[in-house]
Amino acid sequence: MRRPVFVGAMLLIALIAVIYGKIHLDSLIKEGRLETSIAKVPVGDDYKQNTIDLGVQPDPNQTQLQDAPPHATGSAHQDVMAALVEARQSFKNKEAVTSEAAADPHQTPNAVIHSAEKLGEIVTLEQAHPEYSPEFQAFYLECAKDPDVITVTRVQCVEKYVKSKKLNASEETQLLSEVDPVVKRLYLQIK
């Protein structure tokens, strides 16, 4: 007959402990000694940008990217990343431009058309997924600076980056100082 009494006493002690803990935590929070947030965006050297790894250095000007919230890792994100990687590969086709231009200088090389087509798909994707703007912006920037990418496509990537990032005049000037002179010339020519 003593067993139920013992169990009841233990439950009572546990209940008192929980109530005490709650009162103590509330006290700490009230005194500002403990924040209520449960997750923070990491900063500093440990922070890894949530961008595609294509062997290109991150843009030092991309301060907004540092503040980007962590992304969901659902299928939409995977689809976006896959599209970016595929597009980037199709951009690296300068040899085809050379051979096609030699075969017929009057027709825009299909490689240029195909790259622009892929870039158009990416822009459409960006419009559908504004939550992944940092990824798209990193993509445009890497494309603009990559010497393996078709020159015309690089110019178009500069255009897309400037527009997506809403760069001001000085930021735009800074960007243009970092790209190939032919890319810069053509960009300014059509601006």
Binding site: D104, T108, T151
Partner: protein, 350 residues
């Protein structure tokens, strides 16, 4: 930089075939093949027909050797131009006027500019056509079917100005064969004399029409596809200009230099202009205002591709190191004097 002015590879290959034909023709003519009756009688040189305001789509003569699909598509493209309202910015208008030497750039004046330079649309395979070598002093015409150019007809060939190519070949051939007056080409029921680069002969190849090369892959006659082809048509029209005195006959392209001024992928390819008023500049300048049509009628993706094409054209114009671009003289070549060949004897060349 000493630029080598060259003709496009496809044109050069076609001309090589033509040159060989002419050489063989000479040997055969003296071997006693005898005379023949042309299946289409020769005619006197018709007086130049004044240019009219007839729509472009009805002005051009389309070779029967072209597929009906090609013809329908080209007519649809030209209808886009015929129906264009001519909306353009002040800068676009100024560029066109400066490049084309016209007072006021409107659809009407641009259309007239085009008609002065382009008249016949022929198939890419010159083997489909009969050629005549006019020997004026001997009152004879040597007839020859051009050798098939199928091996020089890659799928990615879009177009070329055959009038200027044939004219230049004739000039070259006359150095060793002064009795050659000029060449005539049978197109449908007409012997077309190639008296100058302004003969207005454009060949069109599969790349202009094949699905692979289209912007819109599901509709060959989509506006975006038409704009792409219109750019090529006006580009080719510029190749009808120029004269020997100014070394500008045909406004031929030059090899892209390796000096960091043009895309690295074009270096060494004869796909550049070192003049501000060359064919690439003309095509781009015409395309630019036409892109406004796309604002309301093309997808964002189509517009991105068209902008890529516009950039591709611009990227081939070599900027001047000193900032002042060279301008080539577009004054047309006087050309050869036309002859009444209606009574000339014909003989076959092999």
């Amino acid at each position: 930089m000493k630029a080598l002015r060259t003709l496009p590879l496809a044109t050069v290959l076609s001309l090589c075939a033509l040159f060989l034909t002419l050489s063989c023709g000479s040997a055969d003519r003296t071997s006693g093949d005898g005379t023949t009756n042309p299946d289409l009688p020769f005619t006197a040189i018709a007086p130049a027909i004044p240019l009219t305001s007839v729509p472009l789509q009805d002005y051009l003569v389309y070779s029967n050797a072209l597929s009906s699909d090609y013809i329908d598509t080209l007519r649809s493209d030209l209808a886009v131009f015929d129906n264009w309202n001519g909306a353009m910015t002040g800068a676009e208008k100024a560029t066109l006027q400066s490049l084309l030497g016209i007072q006021d750039a409107t659809p009407s004046t641009l259309s007239m500019w085009f008609k002065e330079r382009m008249k016949y649309i022929v198939a890419n395979d010159l083997g489909l056509y009969k050629l005549g070598l006019v020997f004026g002093s001997q009152k004879q015409v040597g007839l020859q079917v051009l050798g098939s150019s199928s091996n020089t007809d890659p799928a990615n060939t879009g177009g070329g100005n055959m009038g200027s190519a044939i004219y230049l070949t004739t000039l070259d051939e006359q150095k060793s064969r002064p009795e050659l007056s000029y060449l005539i080409l049978r197109i449908n029921d007409e012997w077309v004399p190639v008296l100058s680069p302004r003969a207005g002969l454009m060949r069109v190849g599969p790349a202009l029409f094949s699905n692979e090369f289209q912007i819109n892959h599901t509709n060959i006659q989509a506006l975006s596809n038409s704009l792409q082809r219109l750019e090529v048509l006006f580009h080719e029209a510029r190749h009808s200009d120029g004269n020997r005195a100014a070394n500008s006959v045909g406004f031929s392209h030059i090899n892209c230099p390796n000096d960091g001024s043009v895309p690295a992928e074009l270096v060494g390819v004869p796909a550049c202009d070192d003049t501000v008023n060359g064919a690439y500049s003309v095509g781009a300048a015409v395309l630019k205002p036409l892109l406004h049509l796309c604002d309301a009628h093309c997808t964002a993706q189509e517009q991105t591709i068209l902008r890529g094409i516009y950039l591709d054209r611009l990227s081939r114009v070599i900027p001047a190191a000193n900032g002042t671009m060279k301008t080539l003289d577009p004054t047309p070549e006087t050309g050869f004097n036309g002859i009444d060949i209606s009574t000339f004897q014909a003989f076959n060349l092999r």
